[in-house]
């Protein structure tokens, strides 16, 4: 018997109106909204919470959801998109369906895992690896089809769905297609609405509500849309023509006239050259830079400047320490020195750190110079004469006891909004609201705890609103013609969108560039106005002809490197200062901003001793080049990334040692062992030509990416080349063939010769990243200097630079393994003080534990501090001695623990808080 239940006619009330339900920060909603806007279908849009149950029959919240005119609900984002397209008369083709299915079944599980890693675990750097297979599938299909869009010449639902799915994570691999879709206004505005311009972080609250993805099921990144035959390996297809072209290039050999440029100081712009002026954000003098600071500005800039020189561009790279400001004054007070002495002391610290990291500045200056005063005052007067400065009276807190006006960070009091007793002068940590220091209740000077008084003081303001139109016109031009990172454009846009306000450029301080105006003679320039002028004055200290760089926008391209928190000062405020002078200054053409680098899964914190700081990196015994490599490998390019010891060891051992180092070393060893140190004759066969083409392609990618300052992405192509090389050696087994007949011996010769030439190419490509290792390789191979100039010309030329008969030098391994216990010890050492709280006190100091326990906060004990300082120094010597003797690891670890404990007690005795204190990352 069959029972048929008739449907109950209960069409839910919907008045035939369609409604689309979205939630902010939910990546799936981007698909639906983009499709809606692209198709222009009429439909109401409602924003709901992540938790809201829109679809009555689903027990888990499902957004986006579309309520159809019939009262039915669609809860699959792809089905919603298809529907919009179909209503608009674009039925989806079979190919389209296939991509939608691939997206739902293959891409989504991997994406979900990737977003989980990036958004919740701060491991954004792993995402690209995770998705590589999928991106390859898409890329191959696009390049094979040769069409602008995935399924043909017009935008289809597949484009919108895949674009939106990849929007939060996309790297450059699919750039032209991605940009094409993104260029549609409807897509852009959908992204803005759904993700609020907050990038990955905007998705946090959504991601937190998702079940933890299972890594096993999505690990499998099988390309689903390629032919099954090709499916197994994502090897690039190489055509006959490509092979022939690569062979032709190879046979051209080194060109004699491409000797690398000798650097002759002073470097000045030259007619007919690409003249590039580079700055990296000026590090604040009294902070020892941590790894995040280093990768964010100086290291990234260094890589690019080395690369630019290889390309034959005329580069000038300047930087220096930013030395004026309250923080310096305060540090001087703390250490009992004058501000100038503090600056001298720390400027030297900075210099030596950058020297160790091989940051090859053309000039590393400082802001406390005559030239700074001269140029800053000139800019000031020009702005003043042209009416871009406003006067206003400001109420400020002044501590009569300390005899100074208090900067926001030196006031504390009760929050006027939530009554939190320890609100800072600029913001309340509890309720998060911004505060005007004068509004604080019961304000206290943080230095002496006296109550400050309110004083009014006259100040000058830069009239940004008056410059806004001019700024916007210039920005439009600069951002469209230059390479601005996405975050730089976006941060700038959001500043402009909120409207510019006049900004105060003067401060009641002593340590600064004096304001030359007689009405303001007790005042100095505020650091944000003053510091960027440092770029000019530092250049002026380098050469008297500094204006050939800085007042020469027609000949010079200006690159600024920085972390994202510095963007507005370089894209809005500093350009406004310069535009207002009407003095034909060179303005930024390319603004390169990184995201943040985290330490393990937390933030770097000097006060907590968490993380690796510039001066400590060399104490780890890990070579500078390896540090550079790893920092560049995890460069927060496009999204935040994290430094992790375990990962560093892994990358060192897998990429540097087993991949890159292994290949270069093998190639050299074969020449030495089998061919008496002379490069053998090479008779190229199909397989060799195919390899030349593959390597040539990777080289081209490298150059394309580096030209756009995609430093981390370009590094992957270096590693790809050595992977190809290792595979090539593995397949051809020259060590076996050398023992066989004549033909086999010749084959072994060809394979060895090609490999050692690839090694030579790699050394050139590595130069910007690992200058020392790069030089070592060329020394070992006895490579001609001209190879440096030849290979990176134009779109890249992989030529035979070590001809048959060339004699190489002595070959030795390039990298060393990082052992697990070594890394574990380092991880502990830099993991912060809190972990050592339970360790043994050192015998040298009486009752230190008790002292530590009872010492109240801020109760400085100079006597004890003195004893402890000595004890710390002694213990430090002891540890160094033990390390030098290569003593037992357990012994060293115990002594290090003691040292850390002593340091903690010292901090207590000095009246500093041993508790983790949130550190303010902003420098200006």
């Amino acid at each position: 018997m069959k029972v048929i239940f008739l449907p109950v006619a209960t069409h839910r009330v919907s008045n035939g109106q369609m409604k689309l339900f979205l939630s902010e920060g939910n990546p799936h909603c981007l698909k639906a909204l983009a499709a809606l806007q692209v198709t222009g279908v009429q439909c109401g849009v409602h924003y709901v919470n992540h938790e809201e149950r829109v679809v009555p029959f689903l027990s888990r919240p499902a957004v986006p959801a579309l309520l159809l005119p019939s009262g039915l609900h669609l809860f699959s984002p792809n089905a919603i998109c298809r529907y919009f397209f179909e209503v608009n008369g674009q039925e989806s083709s079979e190919l389209c369906n296939q991509w939608l299915e691939w997206e739902a079944t293959d891409l989504q599980p991997a994406l979900l895992q990737g977003l989980y890693l990036a958004v919740l675990q701060g491991k954004g750097s792993e995402v690209s690896n995770l998705l590589q297979g999928h991106l390859n599938v898409l890329e191959q299909s696009l390049s094979k089809g040769g069409t602008p869009y995935i399924t043909g010449d017009a935008v289809s639902v597949a484009d919108v769905v895949l674009w939106a799915a990849l929007y939060p994570v996309l790297s450059d691999s699919l750039k032209s297609w991605f940009d094409r879709v993104a260029a549609m206004h409807s897509c852009q505005s959908a992204a803005q609405k759904v993700l609020q311009g907050k990038g990955l972080q905007g998705m946090k609250s959504y991601m937190q509500r998702q079940p933890v993805p299972q890594s096993s099921q999505s690990r499998d990144a099988q390309p689903c849309n390629s032919n099954p035959a090709e499916g197994e390996e994502s090897e690039r297809f190489v055509s006959e023509e490509e092979m022939e072209a690569a062979t032709l290039t190879w046979s051209q050999g080194l060109s004699a006239d491409s000797q690398p440029l000798e650097r002759k100081h002073p470097i000045l712009p030259q007619e007919g050259k690409r003249n590039i002026l580079m700055t990296s954000a000026l590090p604040y003098v009294n902070n020892v830079p941590h790894l995040g600071n280093i990768i964010g500005c100086v290291l990234s800039a260094d890589v690019f400047s080395r690369y630019g020189r290889l390309r034959g561009w005329n580069m000038l790279f300047v930087c220096g320490t930013d030395e004026y400001g309250t923080a310096t004054e305060n540090k001087a007070r703390e250490e009992g020195l004058t501000p100038q002495q503090i600056c001298d002391k720390y400027h030297a610290v900075h210099s030596s750190i950058y020297k160790w990291f091989q940051i090859d500045f053309d000039f590393f200056g400082r802001t406390t110079t005559e030239k700074q005063t001269e140029i800053a005052q000139d800019i000031f007067w020009r702005l003043h004469k042209r009416g871009f400065l406003l006067e206003d009276t400001v109420e400020q807190l002044r501590c009569e006891n300390c005899q100074r006006f208090l900067a926001d960070r030196f006031v504390e009091g009760v929050c006027p909004h939530c009554r939190y007793p320890e609100a800072r002068g600029d913001q309340c940590d509890k309720c998060g609201r911004l505060i005007n220091a004068v509004d604080l209740r019961e304000p206290q000077c943080k230095v002496c705890r006296q109550t400050p008084v309110i004083r009014s003081s006259k100040h000058l303001f830069l009239d940004l609103p008056k410059l806004e139109t001019q700024l916007e016109q210039w920005l439009e031009k600069s951002t469209s013609s230059g390479d601005w990172t996405a975050n730089a454009k976006q941060i700038t846009r959001s500043w402009l969108r909120d409207g510019l306000k006049p900004r105060c450029i003067t401060r009641d301080l002593k340590w600064g560039t004096p304001v030359p105006h007689p009405d303001f003679k007790e005042k100095v320039f505020y650091v944000w106005f003053d510091a960027p002028i440092g770029y000019l004055s530092i250049t002026a200290n380098y050469t008297d002809q500094w204006d050939k760089w800085w007042k020469n926008p027609h000949q010079v391209e200006l690159y600024h490197f920085m972390a994202k928190d510095n963007v507005p000062f370089h894209s809005v405020v500093f350009p406004c200062s310069l535009l207002g002078t009407q003095d034909n200054y060179t303005l930024v053409n390319h603004l390169i901003a990184t995201e943040y680098l985290n330490y393990e899964d937390t933030k770097f914190s000097k006060s907590r001793g968490v993380g690796v700081f510039g001066d400590m990196a060399k104490d780890t015994g890990i070579p500078s080049d390896v540090w550079r490599f790893y920092l560049l490998y995890v460069r927060p390019e496009g999204q935040d990334s994290a430094f992790s010891w375990a990962d560093m060891a892994l990358k060192n051992n897998s990429e540097l040692l087993n991949n890159l180092g292994n290949f270069i070393n093998r190639a050299g060893m074969f020449v030495t062992k089998f061919f008496e140190g002379c490069v053998p004759v090479m008779e190229l066969q199909q397989e060799d030509k195919r390899l030349l083409a593959l390597v040539g392609w990777e080289l081209q990618q490298y150059i394309q990416l580096m030209d756009k300052v995609k430093i981390r992405d370009a590094l992957k192509h270096i590693l790809n080349i050595s992977r190809h090389g290792n595979q090539y050696i593995q397949v051809n087994e020259p060590w076996k063939k050398i023992k066989e007949g004549d033909a086999e011996r010749r084959r072994a010769g060809t394979v060895t010769g090609v490999s050692v030439n690839i090694a030579c190419l790699l050394s050139v490509m590595m130069l910007p990243y690992m200058p020392e290792v790069s030089q070592t390789i060329r020394d070992q191979l006895n490579a001609p200097q001209s190879c440096i100039g030849t290979m990176l010309q134009g779109s890249g030329a992989f030529v035979c630079s070590l001809n048959a008969g060339h004699r190489i030098g002595a070959v030795s391994p390039l990298f060393q393994k990082l052992e697990a216990d070594q890394i574990e010890a380092l991880k502990k050492r830099f993991g912060g003080q809190q972990k050592t709280a339970g360790s043994q006190p050192a015998a040298a100091v009486p009752e230190p534990t008790a002292a530590a326990e009872v010492a109240p906060l801020n109760a400085a004990d100079p006597e004890k501090a003195k004893q402890l300082t000595q004890a710390v120094a002694d213990q430090g010597d002891k540890v160094r001695a033990l390390k030098a003797q290569k003593a037992d690891k357990a012994v060293i670890t115990a002594e290090v623990a003691k040292l850390l404990d002593l340091k903690k007690q010292l901090a207590l005795a000095e009246g500093k808080s041993p508790e983790p204190a949130p550190q303010k990352g902003k420098k200006k």
């Binding site: 449907p7 888990r60 298809r82 529907y83 179909e86 079979e94 296939q98 691939w102 499998d220 689903c224």
Partner: protein, 173 residues
């Protein structure tokens, strides 16, 4: 699994010449070699292709809305049912039960290819249900029973007894 389901679908559609399939990847995604173009990959894509080949477009749904609903359930089948873990089963059945409360078929009043594939996908779940559980999800079992008796659908799957005839149950014991 997916290949057997496609073969059953072919039989239901009455396609004369059975197609040759291969699979790719660890997940054994079905691939259909196509004489008129590039190979088709993925069960949903292939299923829709077969329906069109058999000139049974009505099975893909009626109107834009119907077609969207059918596609949604096809996607649901391959994303949710095919790799569901134990914890998900209850939710899936509960949701479907609520959904089917006022429907004969997944797309409303009309039988579509979504019913076929969803039936194939949910079969292993239903097989494992105890009789009491089947009663708990009465709308699902009713729909399931209906589809498994729909002419020409069942093919490779064994029939499942889903309904107890209430008249003869021992309610009064």
């Amino acid at each position: 699994m997916a290949l057997r389901e496609l073969a059953s679908l072919e039989k239901y559609l009455g396609l004369k010449k059975p197609n040759k399939y291969s699979t790719q990847g660890d997940k054994k995604v079905p691939v259909l070699q196509n004489n008129n173009g590039p190979p088709l990959v993925g069960q949903v894509t292939i299923a829709c292709h077969l329906v069109k080949e058999a000139k049974r477009a009505e099975l893909l749904g009626d109107g834009a809305e119907g077609r969207a609903v059918v596609q949604q359930w096809l996607e649901y089948k391959v994303t949710k049912l095919d790799c569901c873990c134990k914890e998900d089963i209850k939710t899936i059945l509960k949701d479907l039960n609520l959904y089917l409360q006022d429907k004969v078929y997944l797309a409303g009043n009309q039988f579509t290819v979504a019913d076929t594939l969803m039936y194939y996908g949910i079969h292993p779940l239903i097989v494992d249900l105890a009789i009491q559980e089947k009663e708990q999800y009465v709308n699902v079992t009713r729909w399931f029973d209906h589809i498994q008796h729909y002419p020409g659908v069942r093919h490779h799957l064994p029939p499942v007894v889903v309904l107890r005839n209430r008249i003869y149950t021992g309610r009064l014991h």
